[in-house]
Symmetry: C2
Subunit: 205 residues, 2 copies
């Protein structure tokens, strides 16, 4: 593959942009990490395909939608398994993860204090353990320590990022998910990821 | 590819299951169209991967998540373009469509009458034209009458299904989206799709 000029455009946060950065980091691929603030974003918004971030720019052309761009990068850099059925199982994990992010986003976007409290309780007590239980089972069933096949894929990176979020929000149960804990350790021990994380800017979300 | 024993499990509706049925129909691939009712679903729920429908069953093995399974079927049956970049552009359309479905689902799930009315107004006056404008532009820019490349893909089937929904709900603007109207006509004129639609059970959603 010819080397490409790659930019990831997103806010100054992990959010829905981090998974694309993680795939590029795992690949050891250089990219420009462009971050917008509340002040700089409005001027850039009309230059994005759908007025949203993240955006992937490859050799000057722009694409949007977090799942679409991270899946593309995973295919391009060898983190999408070997077979068509591997791809299905990876996408299954990603889409489950998206359902979790949607539940989390609902909480973060709620402005009514009472409703926000209810949503947080539901996120902590119901959603988090529901999704972690699904992930733990999928991981355990595959028996390799990875979600799909026997090597690192987009699915592992996606769930690593989700666990990082839960840790940071103090929402990760302290026990009960041994396979996920092992996966987390394995991802942060990956040399490329380790180098990336060592220089990553720490942000709240 | 060896012939497979394929089942699509979903409710007695189009909803998030129809896109997988449409891909199989376009491929001329036989499949078992299993439909659950409010009465029969609870007994089946524990036998599904995540307690959700749709589910794809291939040779006895079950997979879930609508986008994951329809994308798998599209790859398997040649409706996912030719290049990795085609795949990105197809996924971009699908993910935009998912954003629209999420907005529509919010309306359908709302039980408070006043809020439901507001959500419907927003869906009709804001969301629908926003997404149709994005789709119209993508389609027009590609210049082939299809969303990606020069033949039918998952993206065309997905947006056809979305337009069918809008028509049925009387939410489709009567003019202003000529490329989308052409695409709709092209999809329903496809021989395999035509044969499928001629025998499809009509449902509300």
């Amino acid at each position: 593959m010819a080397p490409k000029n790659i930019k990831i455009l997103y806010f100054d946060a992990r959010g829905r942009g981090e998974i694309s950065r993680l795939v590029l980091a795992a690949a050891g691929q250089k990219f420009e990490d462009v971050r917008f603030t509340r002040e700089t974003w409005p001027a850039e918004k009309p230059n994005t395909p759908f007025g949203q971030l993240p955006v992937l720019e490859i050799d000057g052309k722009r694409y949007a939608q977090s799942v679409a761009i991270s899946t593309y990068l995973a295919r391009e850099f060898g983190f999408y398994g070997k077979t068509n059925l591997d791809g299905l199982q990876i996408d299954q994990v990603i889409q489950l993860g998206v359902d979790f992010w949607n539940a989390a986003t609902k909480y973060f976007m709620e402005s009514d204090a009472k409703k926000k409290e209810e949503l947080l309780k539901n996120l902590k007590d119901v959603e988090t353990s529901k999704y972690l239980t699904f992930f733990e089972k999928l991981l355990k069933d595959n028996k390799t320590g990875y979600f799909v096949g026997s090597g690192l894929t987009l699915a592992d990176l996606f769930v690593y990022d989700l666990i990082y979020f839960l840790k940071k929000q103090n929402m990760l149960p302290s026990q009960g998910f041994p396979s996920l804990q092992e996966l987390y350790n394995k991802v942060v021990s990956n040399n490329n990821i380790k180098a990336y994380l060592a220089q990553r800017k720490e942000t709240e979300n």
